[in-house]
């Protein structure tokens, strides 16, 4: 086993990314064109002052700002629709679920804060090498249990295939079954250990993935701070099977 493999094992599956490459290119591209435009305008003014004939092509610099790509235009309404769908599904399946205000998924010390009924998350796009889609993540509370909670919906990029759809060795508990529309549902439980000072505490992780016939994947994941799961497999599967949670 190489060191890289050891680290990759340690990192495990990455959550959906919040890095918006399309938005970044559009934003930085506009900034770059503005800089180029400012330089061209300054050059033209200087040329006039010096009596030199310089022709600045119309539109080369001061043209209208580029329109946003189509994907970004649709992005304005799609996250709102998905956010409502996520919230409705969780409210229906786990009405006593609450959300930790100011809870940071990476900092357990913030998980004991006050709770609210409305998830303080926003739906964001993710762009994996193999899949694109939308996700929301937050810290949820249910009774005494506090947990990381992530939901994502996406589709494989062309030329990529999903990983093993069935249960594989190494999981504490795993079962797969078929949803009402023929969806493949895989529910897996994992165990973790968390160092709290010198003490090692047991934590539990649960992941339910639904693979639909149209290629859409919906995954709900929890990682509790204790040895009790936040939601049952049935509740998580019902959320992931919700037909309203789909790609637009």
């Amino acid at each position: 086993m190489t060191y890289r493999q050891i680290f990759d094992e340690a990192i495990g599956d990455a959550p959906p990314t919040a890095v918006d490459v399309d938005g970044l290119v559009a934003r930085e591209g506009r900034r770059r064109r503005r800089r180029v435009g400012a330089y061209a305008s300054a050059t033209a003014v200087l040329a006039l002052a010096l009596g030199v004939g310089v022709v600045v092509q119309p539109g080369a610099s001061g043209g209208p700002a580029p329109t946003r790509p189509a994907a970004s235009a649709t992005a304005r309404s799609e996250p709102e629709r998905l956010q409502a769908a996520f919230q409705a599904a969780f409210n229906r399946e786990a009405p006593d679920l609450r959300w930790v205000q100011g809870g940071s998924t990476g900092d357990h010390k913030t998980w004991d804060g006050p709770v609210t009924e409305t998830p303080p998350w926003t739906v964001k796009p993710f762009q994996w090498e193999s899949m694109t889609g939308w996700f929301a993540v937050g810290v949820a509370a249910r009774g005494e249990v506090r947990s990381y909670l992530n939901i994502d919906v996406g589709r494989m990029r062309p030329g990529h295939t999903p990983g093993p759809g069935e249960c594989t060795p190494g999981r504490v508990k795993c079962r797969s079954f078929t949803g009402p529309e023929g969806e493949l549902v895989v529910a897996s439980d994992f165990e973790g250990r968390r160092l709290v000072g010198p003490v090692t505490e047991r934590t539990v992780l649960r992941s339910v993935t639904v693979q639909r016939a149209d290629g859409t994947h919906v995954t709900v994941q929890t990682h509790s701070s204790t040895d009790r799961h936040l939601m049952t497999v049935e509740e998580m599967a019902a959320v992931a099977l919700d037909p309203e949670i789909r790609l637009g």
């Binding site: 060191y3 990192i11 495990g12 290119v25 591209g29």
Partner: protein, 171 residues
């Protein structure tokens, strides 16, 4: 989208996940990792032509990422306490690493001082040479070697098929 943008986008799309994972090893928080990758990519876009002239573009970008993390750590709200002490918790239980062992490895990595952690990530995860690592961090090759050697001792325990980190695995 211009040809420059497409070229940049193609490169970033292919490297996004490895960059995120590298960032996560450095900061051990996915939100911060995404922030660091976004910062790095913005800088990379602005310096794209210069970056294309680098001998090793991937190393150049990982250097930008590492320095973005070191810069971010200097900000008061991102400070965290670090120590050079790496707890060795090896036992002789054999087998594949469990989720608990993974978390333990990340925990150990997180206890390294920032620059030593950067050395470990650049050398052992990104597979950069001693010279490339030294250049990125602005230190001598001797410093990289000595810092890497100390961290290596701990990692060897995990690399061995007959060793595993104590985790109370399921049997």
């Amino acid at each position: 989208m211009t040809g420059r943008d497409e070229e940049f986008r193609d490169y970033v799309t292919a490297r996004l996940e490895p960059l995120r994972r590298t960032a996560y090893l450095l900061c051990r928080d996915w939100h911060t990792a995404d922030d660091l990758v976004s910062i790095t990519l913005s800088k990379l876009y602005r310096n794209w032509r210069r970056a294309l002239g680098a001998d090793n573009l991937d190393a150049y970008v990982r250097g930008m990422l590492t320095n973005a993390w070191l810069d971010e750590r200097r900000r008061p709200w991102r400070r965290e306490r670090s120590t050079d002490e790496v707890p060795d918790r090896a036992d002789l239980a054999a087998g594949e690493p469990s989720v608990g062992e993974r978390e333990m490895l990340l925990e150990m990595l997180g206890r390294l001082a920032p620059r030593r952690r950067a050395v470990v990530v650049l050398r052992f995860y990104c597979d950069l040479s001693v010279e490339e690592t030294a250049k990125i961090l602005g230190v001598s090759t001797g410093t990289v070697k000595s810092q890497a050697a100390r961290a290596l001792e701990t990692l060897r325990l995990l690399a061995s098929p007959h060793s595993a980190v104590e985790s109370g695995r399921q049997r």
